[in-house]
């Protein structure tokens, strides 16, 4: 936890460093025992030593490169093994972190051999705390920092040497108690069912792996992610966690502690403002960690210079990605959309440049089975809200693919979400044919493979490329994985089908958009 004292200390030391002081030898002498006995670090103790401004910035940038890449992997829906592969290379380059066993046993008694390891661990330790300062300031940054740091930790934990990992685990206090053999035996049926669920293990092997397994009992909310996926057996408020799933327990603890400390750090942040050396660096750092977010590309707000009207939506829908086409078809068919459908589609339409007045016309006409009174009562507020005209007055951005994929999976009777992810394969095939006119066997098979590999954005890009193959021909650099936002899909599609018309007066459009928000 980076408390007030720690920050003060850090500030003082950084200031000293800025005035040319080097590391004070006494600070090493002061420390009791080895500073970093384990390769893994739960980052509970803030750094105390001095660093130079250059190191301060360089270490942070190196770590940021790693975290940035992790976020990109998440965004691409990469699996843990894929992320591990990416991280392995990246970490070797920017932040190597070797285990104690990397030193031959015969030389371990020589403390000098540990200097290299200690330096790696120090960089890991310090860069983590520097980035805490940069990313504690907003909810969103905190959330993303915890998420990416947790994955980095997971990578290191799972690649750690088993003996050293066990030592590290012992040093944490996790509030769990072992399950006795007799209790394990009395719950054998339930525990085994959960352990082998979905693994299609032959009976004999299942029995063996169950017998080898040891269990810990923790209060269920310590492992809520395992509860969420029904990965553990629950009884009277306790979760029975097999040793093989310990990782999840440790991860949950890691993010929980990090979340708590970040909030504390945030509370002390204002005190940093006096320091004119640190603040610019920290601000610069947090800017380097921005998520791909769609800012409606101004020129398209007006297409060929004229504002989009409600009546044009049907025609324009040929440029929509499947998710929006599906919502459009659903609203035309059902004369209604449920809440998240309205949100996803409404923000998309806002993003392509539908003004609030036209949006109200569009939705009023679309919801034709409702009376004016019902519409005004139930939906008008909601639509105005998405335009920031009601309520908190926030200018909501169109949802990105990531938000659509992750945030609210559609329930019964709901049409939002990503069809590539949320449709069954059969229904997806039908929808691609009926809504997008994609029946080419090669494309359909390709999409199926993408979907199976959970590369939903790849599937969507594949369809895009197929539908625009004529226009894309001859254009170099039309690589994969380029579209990451439904509005980007629309913009690209419209631009390709209307070459030369794209552009318009960007400046004017910008103003226009602002007007919409300010009205």
């Amino acid at each position: 936890m980076l408390g007030r004292d720690a920050i003060r200390q850090q500030k003082r030391e950084v200031r000293k460093a800025a005035y040319g002081n080097n590391i004070v030898p006494s600070s090493i002498a002061k420390s009791t025992g080895p500073a970093y006995p384990h390769r893994l670090n739960f980052y509970t103790v803030p750094p105390k030593d001095e660093v130079s401004l250059e190191e301060f910035e360089q270490w942070a940038i190196d770590r940021l490169k790693v975290l940035g890449e992790i976020e990109t992997c998440l965004f691409r829906n990469n699996s843990p093994p894929e992320i591990d592969a990416v991280l392995k290379k990246l970490l070797e380059k920017y932040m190597p972190l070797n285990s104690n066993s990397s030193i031959p046993e015969s030389e371990r008694s020589n403390p000098r051999r540990f200097v290299g390891l200690a330096n790696e661990r120090k960089k890991d330790h310090y860069s983590h705390f520097i980035l805490r300062l940069a990313f504690a300031r907003t909810d969103d940054l905190r959330r993303r920092f915890t998420m990416t740091e947790s994955i980095l930790f997971r990578h290191r934990f799972s690649t750690d040497n088993t003996v050293e990992r066990a030592e590290f685990l012992n040093s944490l206090e996790l509030g769990s108690e072992p399950v006795s053999d007799s209790e394990k035996a009395s719950l054998a049926e339930e525990l085994k069912a959960v352990l082998i669920s979905g693994s299609k293990m032959p009976a004999e092997k299942a029995r063996q792996s169950f017998e080898q397994e040891q269990y810990l009992k923790v209060e269920w909310d310590r492992v809520s992610d395992l509860v969420e996926g029904r990965k553990v057996f629950l009884r009277r408020g306790y979760a029975y966690v097999p040793n093989s799933m310990l990782l999840s327990l440790v991860m949950a603890e890691f993010s929980r502690r990090l979340d708590e400390s970040l909030i504390k750090t945030a509370r002390f942040l204002p005190r940093l403002d006096e320091d004119d050396r640190l603040v610019p660096i920290l601000e610069h750092l947090s800017k380097g960690f921005t998520a791909p977010e769609y800012t409606s590309s101004t020129s398209l707000a007006t297409l060929s210079g004229e504002a989009i009207t409600a009546a044009q939506i049907d025609n324009l829908s040929s440029h929509f990605p499947l998710c929006m086409k599906n919502l459009h078809t659903a609203v035309r068919r059902d004369k209604h959309l449920r809440h998240f459908g309205r949100l996803q589609y409404g923000l998309f339409l806002k993003g392509i440049g539908l003004s609030i007045d036209e949006a109200l016309i569009f939705w009023r006409q679309a919801f034709s089975k409702f009376t004016d009174d019902q519409f005004n009562k139930e939906y008008r507020y909601n639509i105005r809200h998405t335009y920031g005209l009601q309520g908190a007055g926030r200018n909501y951005k169109p949802l990105s693919c990531q938000q659509i994929l992750m945030d609210h999976p559609p329930g019964t009777g709901e049409n939002h979400g990503c069809p590539y992810r949320h449709f069954s394969v059969e229904n997806l095939t039908v929808a691609m044919g009926r809504l997008m006119g994609v029946e080419d066997r090669g494309v359909v098979t390709g999409v199926r493979q993408d979907v199976e590999a959970k590369k939903y954005h790849l599937a969507c890009n594949r369809v895009f490329e197929y539908l625009h193959q004529k226009e894309l021909k001859g254009k170099e650099g039309a690589g994969r994985e380029t579209i990451t936002h439904p509005n980007e899909y629309f913009d690209k599609s419209w631009g390709l089908k209307n070459p030369g018309r794209k552009g318009g007066d960007g400046g004017e459009a910008q103003v226009k958009e602002e007007d919409v928000v300010m009205t």
Binding site: S197, V227, R230, R235, F340, T386, A392, Y396, F423
Partner: protein, 495 residues
């Protein structure tokens, strides 16, 4: 981050901005009034000029004397008639128990004082962030505003009324009961007897089945004890899990529990909606064991969901084997509208007779289990449960559409519960009118009459008693928890 109809996090703040201007707690100079208003509430122990008395005075004046059949005379039969509502909230609503329930103690505490209440007025205006030091003040406001319904939100870090006075960012929801919402709208694609807002005892069974499964899991799996089920007034039920630990859960943990109960997955286009790994998780296994008999009775017999050709085709889509499907289709083509229960039996009969060479009995069995769950497993409105700051209609409120009171459901007699039997507000008021002291002993005279409370004269009494018992148990548990922590503290001192 997104505007949602009832989550109303920070957006909701201003969802009522139209109303705010007429409310005392808007901005600027009005804030002083708000404080003053608050103070008035706080020291207002004077019950003499309560609207309750006003209301019955009106009625007394109209009728000439007390306790005659006059109430129903002056009231229309429309249950959402403001006059009827007013009578209900002044004479029958269990204010004291509601207070004890939310306050977790008989002594005033922030559990109640920092709790958000939200009112929907008869003109559809929605008033959020109301809070009250005592139940008398809450009651007085309800009688003054006469809302068509009111909802209960979380306990905040400060009094919700003062939210604009406290430092920005420090006004936060702290705790709220873990809640679940079962609504028959989520069953529309599988219920055949009614649709939309209609409901009958047949489709009520979906709710009964859901309650059974969720209740046992909350107790046996999660270890919760204080679970109250409440009829939502029309076509669903709410659960309020009131254990201290449940109240303190953050959004992430609420989401985890919600996901634990998510078995029927997918939107309108996702095909087979239950696809579970085998062996089944013990929770699913137990749920399936509970539900499989209900499936036969409530689904196959009563809902008869596979009767027509189109419906039967849906059943075939959920089965794994093409050859078996061919055989079934052929059989069903010759017998028009064969009942679902027969069709269900046909599956095993034909599979056993060797109609398909490719069928794997284990796979068929698993698919049949999945189908049973798809038609019976609880479909919860997840958004309600996931968020600490979601508001939920208070128990004992009158549903403005049906006039029915949102009564607690006795879980030990769950199978007997029929929404048709739930008293409506007009019925209850009539019962007060028609009530006669059963023991007419002359020596007791008028005194005995005045001692019987209005609730005791009506069919609301058993529900009220159920609620009181629940609250008492909760308070006892709360006390022993406090005592325990106290003991630990003193032990620590001895060392």
């Amino acid at each position: 981050m997104a505007p949602h109809k009832t989550t109303l996090d920070d957006d909701g703040d201003d969802a009522m901005q139209d109303v705010d201007s007429m409310q005392v707690d808007s901005v600027g100079a009005d804030e002083k009034t708000a404080v003053k208003d608050e103070l008035e509430h706080m020291f207002d122990d004077d019950l003499d000029d309560e609207p309750m008395v006003d209301a019955s005075n009106i009625y007394k004046n109209n009728s000439g004397k007390a306790n005659t059949t006059a109430i129903s005379d002056i009231l229309s039969t429309n249950p959402s008639d403001p006059q009827i509502m007013l009578q209900f909230y002044s004479r029958l609503f269990p204010w004291r128990q509601l207070y004890r329930w939310l306050n977790h103690s008989d002594l005033p505490s922030t559990d109640f004082a920092h709790r958000e209440f939200a009112f929907t007025l008869h003109n559809e205006a929605y008033l959020r962030y109301q809070s009250y030091p005592t139940f008398e003040t809450l009651r007085r406001d309800v009688l003054k505003l006469n809302p068509s319904r009111f909802e209960i939100g979380p306990v905040y870090s400060a009094r919700p009324r003062d939210r604009k006075q406290v430092q920005k960012g420090s006004f936060k929801p702290i705790e709220k009961e873990l809640v679940f919402d079962i609504d028959l709208t989520d069953y529309d694609e599988i219920r055949t007897c009614c649709s939309k807002t209609k409901i009958c005892i047949k489709c009520w069974q979906f709710v009964t089945m859901a309650i059974k499964v969720v209740d046992v899991a909350l107790r046996d799996d999660f270890g919760f004890q204080h679970i109250m089920w409440v009829y939502s007034g029309r076509r669903g039920a709410h659960a309020w899990v009131c254990d201290k630990k449940a109240r303190k859960l953050d959004d992430g943990k609420r989401r985890a529990i919600t996901a634990y109960f998510e078995v029927v997955k997918g939107g309108s286009q996702s095909g087979k909606k239950v696809n579970l790994d085998r062996p089944l998780h013990p929770h699913i296994r137990r749920s399936h064991d509970i539900l499989k008999d209900d499936f036969r009775q409530n689904i196959l017999e009563n809902q008869d969901p596979f009767r027509t050709e189109k419906q039967a085709e849906r059943l075939l889509q959920l089965l794994p084997d093409r050859q078996l499907n061919e055989a079934l289709r052929e059989k069903w083509d010759s017998t028009i509208e064969r009942p679902s229960s027969e069709k269900w039996k046909d599956i095993d009969a034909l599979a056993g007779s060797g109609a398909s060479k490719t069928i794997i009995p284990k796979v068929l069995l698993e698919h049949k289990q999945d189908i049973i769950l798809e038609y019976t497993y609880p479909r919860l409105d997840a958004e309600v449960s996931k968020h600490l700051n979601h508001l939920l209609k208070s128990p004992f409120v009158v549903h403005p559409g049906t006039g029915k009171v949102c009564v607690p459901i006795d879980i030990s007699k769950l199978d007997e519960f029929d929404p048709d039997d739930v008293p409506t507000v007009t019925q209850l008021l009539k019962e007060i009118d028609q009530w006669k002291n059963p023991v007419k002993k002359e020596e007791d005279g008028d005194n005995s009459i005045s001692r019987v409370s209005d609730i005791d004269k009506t069919s609301l009494k058993p529900y009220h008693d159920l609620f009181s018992r629940f609250v008492q148990k909760l308070l006892n548990a709360e006390k022993s928890v406090n005592k325990k922590t106290g003991e630990i503290k003193t032990e620590g001192m001895d060392f």
